[in-house]
Amino acid sequence: MTRAHVVFVATILVALLGALWPGSARALDRTFAGSVQLDENVAPMEPTTNAGTQTFYGFTAELSGKIAVDLSEHVSANVKICYGCHGFETDMAYFDLRVNDELNFRVGRFSPSFGAFNLRHDPANHKLADKPLPYDMGRMLRMRDWNLGVLPSPFPDNGVEVDGAHWFGDTAQLEYAAYAVSGFKASQGELDLDFVQSHSGSLYYVDNNNLPTGGGRVAMTLRLGPGVDLTYGASGMYGTYDPQNKFTYGIFGGDVWLRVGRTNVRAEWLMRRQTFDTSNQSALKYTVSPTGGDFFVKHGAYVEVEQPLGGGVDGILRADGLLRLGNIAAGSPLSNQATVLRYTIGTSIVIARGVRLKLSPELYQFNYTDAAGRNLEVCLQTAVAGAF
């Protein structure tokens, strides 16, 4: 984040505030909200291993501020600026042009509709300090080995989305979304997506090729009884990521969310199939098979149960994991069948209304050892998160 970017973002915000702040206008249709989370991932670090350097070690902060403006009954704008581990990020900057509940056009920069977790990716909206492994963006141990999760969340991008929802009486809500966005990026010859390049404002938020990524989502929410909701959905996106549009990625997923009273049971599965450049054999760990050797598949899944325990305390149990199948960069500690499983027992305690303390011991089980010979690792995620 250069000074020029800070000035740019500040100028946009000031201009927006100046144009839209109540003066002659009403206070009726503007909302400001935000959140802050300070996290400390306490992970024992062996002096002979690099495991401790492969996660966000020490204090990390996530801050966000969002302005929502309703220009009319059918037009609204949202701008959300985040500050995370890699500086400022424009998480949202879009207009919604709503014809009716069933037809809305979203134009600008936003996270396209995919999966269930991204709807609550803000730290104030999920009760564990970190994200499920399929959506991990850096708090997992050995994140460099894995190049993060399947679809690190959030994933803001420039583009257009058509979405909507329809209610069938009081029993069902059907929603859909279809979109075209710039898509994920990587430089020529890279074997995996480059999530920094995909998000970084230092590249001016422009695409690296001339083909958009397309995708969509369909989901249904059923009211099974008083206080009982079941939501299930399917999502997918497909595009190219290299400057010459030679290599593709497809990300697909399914999700289920059962809510009984205030108890939440969630399960989600994602997979990414990605082709890569095999012309440089020396860059790869395994000999390239003549058939089907030019892609890998990365699966990720989680199941979690969130249970209010009373007195502002929630208990959360989560099991999640990643499975990566296929060739990989030479020098990677991962094999062509690499797995990691993680078991989390967490709690979230209200300190004051809107502020929570989050604690979650986590056990990681890798199917390969680190330099210290460990395939089991533990850490304690501690965080304080607040919303305003």
Binding site: P44, W167, Q173, E175, V355
Partner: protein
């Protein structure tokens, strides 16, 4: 090892503070009049699905028209599960809350 000890001590202290304060993100039911409790139940169930109840309770919003627009907006959120029949009780509760002492106390406390 030292960082573990520091973290655990800090967490224990924060947890102890929280337990003595007996806070929750929703409302203490004893502070909600009996005639409002059914409406509050709908509000608490529907409006805690995607975010903390602290968001609406700490918002400081007292304008009924604003809440009407906002609840309509929330209804359209993916997977909200908020139906037409949920809107009246939610709005009735928010109207009561906006004028209640509970709301004044939240603002006095500074909210979050």
């Amino acid at each position: 090892m030292r960082s573990w000890v520091v973290a655990l001590l800090a967490c224990t202290a924060l947890g102890a503070c929280a337990s003595t304060m007996e806070l929750s993100e929703g409302m203490d039911l004893s502070a909600v009049p009996p005639e409002q409790q059914a409406d509050y139940a709908v509000f608490a169930q529907r409006c805690s699905k995607c975010h903390s109840l602290a968001r609406p309770l700490n918002s400081g919003i007292t304008d009924d028209a604003y809440w009407r627009m906002y609840v309509e907006k929330m209804k359209r959120q993916p997977g909200s599960g908020i139906t037409e029949n949920d809107r009246p009780p939610i709005l009735r509760f928010l109207h009561w809350y906006a004028g209640s002492k509970a709301h004044t106390d939240t603002k006095t406390d500074g909210g979050t």
